[in-house]
């Protein structure tokens, strides 16, 4: 739902929220942990994991001139801290600072009630037309409070890539796959992990693309193949996690799963919006019609996403000498 209208006047101006200071059990978090441009706080920046409570000082700027002239009364600005993974929602009332005209407050985040990434935003609520407690505005984008990040990175920007020896490396569960050049692990709630097998001699050298144009093209082609495998694995993992809402409609998952589905579904089921596509996908999985065809579409979408056709063409151009030149 991307266009929403209200039956009463709401704020047109922007509401901005900013984290100004964070303390973990009373000890100040380094400012390096607060990424203003990324709107992200890395709570593990100091390498401390044993804290119980984070006190997050925030400041919100509301369109005050609009509010002063508007039809709203008993205006309240609250900070909302939520995390879908643990279904926690904490609401904290902010107070208006007379000097700066901004709304300020400290949100307390209990470590035990959160799992990995919490969202923080502000909501503006007021009495409109005699009815109290109506939402009239809020911040447009959330701040992300990341419990595990050591640096404030908004996007869990890519799956992790790990180079290990599958035969006798630290991950014993990889041993059965010792002949595989790579393995994509999408299990668990965190980002998928791609394991590159160091036991396959020359793989990392090949992927680094050192050498002439042929070596580069080969590296790009191998990279594209891995990438395509990753997208395919991620897609299936994401689709497998789709749950139904109260009306029985499949609900879009969150996090990287949402990213994967939003990116790939238009290629898998063209002409359908991502939410329609999930419905269609779930229906086919349950009822079985067109299921095999859909598998091919997933593979196609992953290959497209990985630019496999382009890299293949490049590799062929670089390795196959044009006719008549070898004499």
């Amino acid at each position: 739902m991307n266009r929403t209208i209200y039956p009463y006047p709401v704020l047109r101006g922007r509401t901005d929220v900013e984290v100004t200071r964070v303390r973990l059990d009373g000890v100040e978090l380094e400012f390096a942990g607060i990424g203003i441009s990324q709107r992200t706080v890395a709570l593990a920046v100091a390498g401390r994991d044993e804290w119980q409570e984070a006190a997050i000082e925030i400041r919100a700027e509301l369109p005050e001139t609009e509010i002063a002239d508007g039809p709203w009364s008993e205006l309240v600005c609250v900070a909302v801290l939520e995390e879908a993974a643990t279904n926690v929602r904490t609401v904290h009332r902010l107070t208006k600072d007379r000097g700066s005209g901004t709304w300020q407050g400290t949100v307390r985040m209990a470590r035990s009630r959160h799992h990995s990434r919490a969202g923080l935003r502000v909501q503006v609520v007021a009495t409109v037309g005699g009815i109290p407690g109506r939402r009239i505005g809020g911040s447009e984008s959330d701040w992300v409070l990341d419990l595990h990040a050591k640096a404030p990175q908004r996007e869990q920007e890519s799956p992790a890539v790990v180079e290990v020896d599958f035969r006798d490396g630290p991950h014993s569960w990889l041993r059965p796959m010792k002949d595989a050049p790579w393995f994509v692990d999408t299990a668990g709630g965190d980002m998928p992990v791609v394991y590159l097998n160091q036991a396959v001699e020359g793989l990392t050298t090949l992927l680094s693309g050192k050498g002439g144009p042929a070596a580069k093209a080969t590296a790009a082609l191998a990279g594209a193949k891995i990438e395509s495998d990753v997208w395919e694995a991620m897609f299936h993992a994401a689709v497998g996690d789709v749950e139904a809402d109260e009306e029985g409609r499949p609900r879009m998952p969150t996090g990287w799963r949402e990213s994967v589905l939003q990116t790939m579904l238009p290629d898998v089921l063209p002409g359908l919006s991502p939410s329609d596509a999930i419905v269609e996908f779930s229906a086919r999985r349950e009822e079985g019609y067109g299921w095999a065809e859909l598998q091919s579409r997933v593979q196609y979408a992953a290959a497209l996403r990985a630019q496999l056709p382009k890299q293949l063409a490049n590799a062929m151009r670089a390795t196959v000498r044009p006719e008549g030149e070898d004499r």
Binding site: M1, N2, R3, I36, Q38, E140, V144, E155, Q262
Partner: protein
């Protein structure tokens, strides 16, 4: 005899002005020449009856001699003196120093203000600088031109403009503008609590450095400032379309026993021939000198209030300092602004001062600033734009905050809050001077690095501003290897006197860094001066200084959490990066959608409590007709899709038709619009309580209105 100025210097000047020798006066008042000499040097005072005779000898009244606030006789009329051509026939076509600068108010503001800062008189008080733009028209313009004897200059301008040299062409333009526009724009640059143009008329001193010479930087206080009034003063003349600047100075040290209203004008023209006489270039407005060797040369005169008022040179207090009046000031950018030129120039001056002198203007509750600056604009003597004080926070709020925290001693070790300022010391090892021999080792100077998060409005950030002296910006440094995704920051490096400390190491560091600057004072690097004056390894000390500055910065802002991985891993990670943010916001704007979406909804609640919605649907081009179910949803938001409600009525507005509740859009159509009225009976909550939106889905077969 205690009023006005001292008797001795006053009498000496009266004799000089009348071209009368001490012996001649002695003869007239019947005393010995030695007695007159004793009066002039202040060793003796004349008796009252002798004073009467002196008054007669000077053909003036007794009151004038006792008051000594004016000269005894009307001075020789103030006039323009044009330097005769060089006897060797050499011709100069313009002031070389003036060509080094562009006619730009930004440059003028920077150079003139730096001069004022270097000439600060009372070091416990700020030097105050005021820029006044003054537009004259009609009678005001005429009166001013008359006061500066414009008529007598016309023939010189005409001759100079006739030359085909660069400066001649610029003059033609300036003269044409003066004739055509009927306005004259003056820029006055005042400083207060500055030294003023002290010193003798022709010999070494501030006055001669500014008025008589080019490139003389009058290095007096060599310890702190790099010499004031150097190349920079030429910008005053360069910004005048007519090459003409008038000066009024109040001196901090009396000259000829006086301090107030030392007036002089200077004109820079190229070589020219007027009425058969050849002239070298410069001309001065002043009193004809009577002293031997300088006969006829215009020298500065001690003016009266009527003169300074007529020349728009009256100063607002007797605080020492200098007023420069740039006649017919010019700025290319302001010309481009057209009618708004005055406002544009005013703004430009304010911005330039804020940009270049935020550091000198920064103060705390207990530490005064080094500089206060303001800009105002007048038209014919009345205020057009009120005086605008320039604030250090105006353009560089974060940098000013950093410096303020340092001056107030409120810096921290680790950045916690956004307004925190972290302090690190950076050591500069100053090598000994060659002259000191091998016995002397390096002197360690603790420079100060201040780091604070950048403000959102900062246009330039993530670089180190390096300063010394009067908090003068020398250069900026952009350290590399800070790691990926470092937050924007502001940093200042204070070295030498900019640290606001004093001591042996401070003055040594100051001198060393100054020696490492090229004439433009914009880098710290190897220079000829450095290698001549300092022991071996000076360049290396500078490199170390730069490296340890970068290290100190990295320790504060650098991202240490980035692990280094193999190239293959990095390449793969790069390729696998999601293009879309996976966070909860869900505002991914997808430009080329492959599916239908509702792209606009507007509407209101009617009297029955139903929503009347005007909906527009965008569809991708398709060969088949689209069959879509539009579904109104109440109370949707970030946590859920909301509750679906039913339509009571659907009406086509544009490009579509309805098959029951199914919206049918013909092939090839990009947009369709309809109006829908919801059925309030199906609303799960009161209509007024919840927001509404519309979804479109592919229609399920058989979904028709019941």
């Amino acid at each position: 005899m205690e009023s006005g100025e001292e008797f001795g210097p006053w009498l000496g000047r009266q004799l000089r002005r009348r071209n009368m020798t001490q012996a001649e006066l002695a003869a007239e008042v019947k005393v010995t020449r030695a007695a007159v000499s004793a009066w002039i040097t202040g060793r003796a005072q004349p008796r009252p009856e002798t004073v009467r005779q002196i008054a007669e000898a000077l053909s003036t009244d007794l009151g004038t001699v006792y008051a000594r606030t004016t000269d005894a006789v009307p001075a020789h009329a103030v006039q323009w003196y044009h330097r005769p051509a060089h006897s060797d026939g050499g011709r100069e076509f313009g002031n070389a120093a003036a060509f080094a600068f562009e006619a730009d108010l930004r440059v003028l503001a920077r150079e003139a203000t730096q001069n004022s800062l270097d000439e600060r008189h009372d070091p416990t008080q700020p030097v105050r600088v005021r820029y006044t733009l003054h537009e004259l028209t009609g009678e005001h313009r005429r009166a001013f031109l008359q006061a500066m004897q414009w008529e007598s200059l016309k023939s010189h301008y005409a001759a100079a403009a006739a030359s085909d040299q660069k400066v001649g062409r610029a003059l033609v333009e300036g003269l044409r503008e003066l004739e055509d526009s009927e306005t004259l724009l003056l820029l006055r640059v005042d400083d207060y609590n500055a030294n003023g143009l002290t010193g003798p008329e022709y010999d070494d001193g501030r006055f001669a450095a500014v008025v008589r010479r080019q490139l003389d930087s009058h290095k007096v206080d060599n310890r702190r400032a790099g010499g004031s009034y150097g190349l920079g003063k030429a910008t005053l003349w360069a910004t005048s379309r007519l090459g003409l600047v008038l000066i009024n100075s109040t001196l901090s040290v009396p000259h000829e026993g006086r301090t107030e209203r030392r007036l002089i004008g200077r004109l820079d023209l190229p070589w020219r021939e007027v009425d058969g006489e050849a002239y070298a270039g410069p001309a001065w407005l002043g009193e004809p000198d009577a002293a031997r060797g300088y006969e006829g040369v215009s020298r500065s005169w001690w003016g009266i209030q009527e003169e300074t008022t007529a020349l728009h040179l009256e100063r607002e207090s007797d605080d020492p300092g200098t007023s420069f009046l740039v006649v017919a000031v010019h700025d290319a950018a302001a010309v481009a602004a057209g009618d708004d030129g005055l406002h544009a120039m005013h703004e430009k001056l304010v911005d330039s001062l804020a940009d270049d002198f935020w550091a000198a203007m920064t103060d705390t509750a207990s530490v005064p600033p080094l500089l206060k600056a303001s800009v105002r604009t007048l038209r014919n003597g009345t205020e057009l734009i009120p005086e605008t004080p320039v604030s250090p926070d105006q353009r560089k709020p974060a940098l000013a905050r950093a410096l303020r925290a340092y001056l107030a001693g409120e810096t921290v070790d680790v950045l916690g809050v956004r307004t925190d300022v972290a302090l690190r010391t950076v050591t500069l090892n100053v090598p000994p001077l060659r002259a000191e021999g091998k016995a002397v080792g390096n002197t360690a100077h603790e420079a100060v690095l201040l780091v604070t998060p950048a403000d959102d409005q900062d246009r330039t950030h993530s670089e180190i501003v390096c300063m010394r002296g009067n908090r003068m910006k020398i250069t900026t440094q952009r350290p590399r290897d800070l790691g990926f995704g470092v937050e924007p920051f502001q940093a200042v490096l204070l070295a030498g006197f900019a640290t606001a400390r004093d001591g042996e190491d401070v003055s040594r560091a100051e001198a060393f860094l100054r020696a490492s600057e090229p004439p433009e004072h914009n880098r710290w690097e190897w220079t000829e001066e450095l290698s001549v004056a300092y022991a071996r390894g000076a360049k290396r000390r500078l490199d170390e200084f730069r490296a340890s500055t970068a290290d100190a910065l990295r320790a504060v802002v650098g991202n240490r959490a980035v692990p280094s991985a193999g190239i293959a891993t990095e390449l793969l990670r790069e390729r696998l990066r999601f293009t879309q943010s996976p966070v909860a916001g869900r505002q991914g704007t997808r430009r080329s959608r492959g599916y239908p979406v509702v792209d606009d909804v507007d509407g209101e609640v009617d009297s029955t409590g139903a929503w009347v919605l005007r909906v527009r649907v965008a569809v991708p081009p398709s060969e088949d007709a689209w069959r879509l179910s539009p579904v109104p949803r109440l109370g949707g938001g970030r946590t859920g899709a909301g509750a679906a409600v039913r339509w009571a009525d659907l009406t086509v507005t544009e490009n579509c038709s309805f098959d029951g509740d199914v919206l049918v859009i013909a092939p090839g159509v990009r947009y369709a619009a309809f109006t829908g009225i919801t059925d309030p009976d199906t609303h799960p909550v009161d209509t007024g309580m919840a927001n509404i939106g519309v979804d479109v889905h592919k229609a399920e077969e058989g979904a028709k209105r019941a």
